[in-house]
């Protein structure tokens, strides 16, 4: 009898444990399935669940920011056009594998090809710009044009032939400060990972390159005071159905721009950014960023692309500034060259 009771008690314990475990199992995401019948999963506290590690790799270099004239107002490729793109994607992947087949094939001074990331699936869009309908950037204001011209004169990126007089002549990205709010999401050669972690009342969006961690409160609290300006801005989020809408203001003006790694026309301090993230399948989020910057542009515009979970894709710590030997080497090489030139001139 005693034994039987003990056994029962153990069974009860196991039953209780499995009761507790059941909700955890229920949180597992469904596998990728048909978008039309697909319902986004929810977090245990009831928000649409966007969590995961995503990459924009499929849109690397294959899709221009502004649309080629031939496509007119057409944002999406036809199935035939996508098939042609898919062939290109596969050829590129095979070429990349050659590097491992012939380890001595890379004899240049640049990094080997496998340092980069590349598309796995053919992109469907004709341009990253979605609004206006013609896929072109709206006209700039006179103020914006003047500001942009001045910024370009005082700035250089990697690989330019301009003299490396000071670190101040380099972009905020090359200096490992930030890529800014747009530059951190636009697809580039590598480091395109975005990890989303959600907690009750907050979403954190972590971007691998230059290790950005954006903390987005999901409530109606106001933005921080207007005298507080930051590179990544001050973000507030809300849910519109299954879409996370993030509104960002308080940007430091004239630092980073609307191009990859923060290049391109720089945001003004009046810019208002609205991002929309919607999970459209088990492994894909539809992402877009709308820019309203009346000091620079005569109309708002929106760019976007899908970001996707890929098997085995993960983020690493991108200790950019800590390992910025490139900056040290460029500056010291420039000074050494000047010294050598001066000595050569003396001997003449």
């Amino acid at each position: 009898m005693k034994h039987r009771f003990l056994l029962s008690a153990m069974l009860v314990g196991i039953a209780a444990l499995s009761m507790l475990a059941a909700p955890i199992a229920a949180q597992q995401r469904p596998a990728n399935s048909n978008a039309s019948t697909w319902t986004p999963p929810k977090t245990p506290w009831g928000d649409p669940d966007l969590q995961g590690i995503y990459t924009s790799d499929d849109y690397i270099s294959n899709v221009p920011f502004a649309r080629a004239a031939q496509y007119g107002t057409r944002l999406y490729l036809t199935d035939e056009e996508v098939a042609a793109q898919q062939a290109r994607v596969q050829t590129a992947a095979q070429n990349a594998l050659q590097e491992f087949a012939n380890p001595n094939a890379n004899v240049g001074t640049g990094p080997p090809g496998h340092w980069g990331e590349r598309a796995r699936n053919a992109p469907r869009q004709t341009s990253l710009l979605m609004e206006p309908e013609d896929g072109q950037l709206p006209a700039m204001t006179a103020e914006g044009q003047a500001r942009d011209a001045a910024a370009r004169r005082g700035r250089q990126g990697a690989g330019t032939a301009l003299p490396a007089d000071s670190w101040e002549g380099y972009t905020y990205y090359i200096r490992c400060i930030t890529r800014g709010i747009a530059g951190s999401v636009l697809p580039v050669i590598y480091g395109n990972g975005t990890e989303i972690v959600q907690g009750p009342g907050y979403v954190m969006i972590l971007q691998e390159m230059v290790h950005e961690a954006r903390v987005i409160p999901i409530d109606s609290r106001p933005h921080v005071g207007s005298n507080i300006k930051t590179y990544m801005g001050d973000s507030r989020g809300r849910w519109e159905g299954n879409t996370l809408v993030i509104e960002t203001t308080n940007l430091l003006g004239e630092r980073t721009g609307i191009g990859g790694n923060g290049g391109g026309v720089t945001f003004s301090d009046a810019a208002k950014i609205t991002e929309r993230l919607t999970r459209t399948s088990g492994d894909t989020i539809s992402y877009s960023m709308r820019v309203e910057d009346p000091k620079n542009f005569t109309a708002p515009f929106t760019f976007g692309f899908p970001i996707k979970q890929e098997p085995g894709y993960q983020n690493f710590e991108y200790a950019c500034h800590e390992g910025n030997n490139g900056m040290m080497n460029q500056l010291s090489a420039a000074r050494a060259q000047e010294k050598a030139d001066a000595e050569a001139a003396k001997q003449k």
């Binding site: 039953a15 955890i24 959600q198 961690a213 500034h321 800590e322």
Partner: protein, 269 residues
């Protein structure tokens, strides 16, 4: 027999309910703490430690700052340390290194160069940090240097490579969040006083709610290359309760460039 079965079912139901409620209530002394829907403590929020440990994790007296021109504003306040027992069990050669580090602290401390502070230092730097507790991961964003880490709450994974912020695997022990941090590089310090470690350091952190707005934090340091035995630090972490308190940006790289690259600026004629 049938009655006995029925009785057993009733007892079973009561026991299951009790078991479930025990696991939801958690340990004594932590009543009313925020919890996730699954009953685990919810550490999501903006937090900050209030120790003087970033100056020195051990007991220390007040001292002048490095620049007399800044007078009292940037002098060093006295502080009670966070090391349990106050003693750090350095190996003899490591103690000598610590002495040298302290001697050169104003130039050698990686904080000066805006390098990621590593764990545990990120926790007690005089800046807030945000925790966002997800369902499979817990993300930490530290204001200093935009450093951050994502704690894996699934089956533990191995550090792929040594890094500044290390590789964090977390688990629950009752209401305590335990995080093992491995894969630490040897370049971070514990404080501005030159306390340091090697790349064999393993940090075991423990986060336990004392009340809804205070976390008891403990970190056990194991590093056989540097210390003769494991040692522990502990201190409370407070929730930032100001209206609209928000993690801001301290992207300090541009405050350090003159220091790091200044000697390489092209001289003006």
């Amino acid at each position: 027999m049938r009655n006995r079965v029925r009785l057993l079912i009733v007892v079973a139901a009561i026991a299951a309910t009790l078991l479930a409620s025990v696991s939801l209530l958690g340990q004594a002394g932590a009543a009313g703490i925020p919890r996730m829907p699954d009953g685990k403590p919810n550490f999501t929020g903006l937090w900050q430690a209030l120790t003087g440990a970033n100056w020195d994790i051990q007991d220390h007296s007040a001292e002048p700052g490095p620049f007399y021109q800044l007078g009292a504003a940037f002098a060093i306040p006295a502080g009670q340390g966070i090391v349990e027992g106050n003693e750090i069990p350095y190996r003899p050669e490591a103690l000598e290194q610590k002495r040298l580090n302290r001697l050169n602290r104003w130039t050698a401390d990686p904080e000066t160069k805006c390098y990621m502070p590593g764990i545990p230092r990120a926790t007690y730097m005089p800046y807030p940090f945000q925790i966002v507790q997800g369902t499979g991961k817990i993300a930490f964003a530290y204001e200093f240097a935009t450093s951050n880490r994502v704690v894996n709450m699934g089956p533990p994974t191995k550090a792929p490579v040594a890094s500044w912020m290390g590789w964090s695997n977390g688990r629950w022990e009752g209401d305590t969040l335990v995080i093992d941090v491995t894969g630490n590089n040897e370049q971070t310090w514990f404080d501005r006083a030159g306390n340091f470690h090697s790349d064999t350091m393993k940090v075991t952190e423990r986060f336990t709610f004392r009340n809804p707005d205070v976390i008891n934090y403990e970190a056990t340091i194991e590093d056989p290359k540097t210390f003769t035995r494991p040692w522990k630090m502990s201190f409370p972490i407070y929730r930032r309760l100001e209206n609209n308190a928000k993690l801001l940006e301290f992207k300090c790289v541009e405050f350090t460039e003159e220091l790091i690259y200044g000697h390489l600026r092209k001289p003006t004629n």
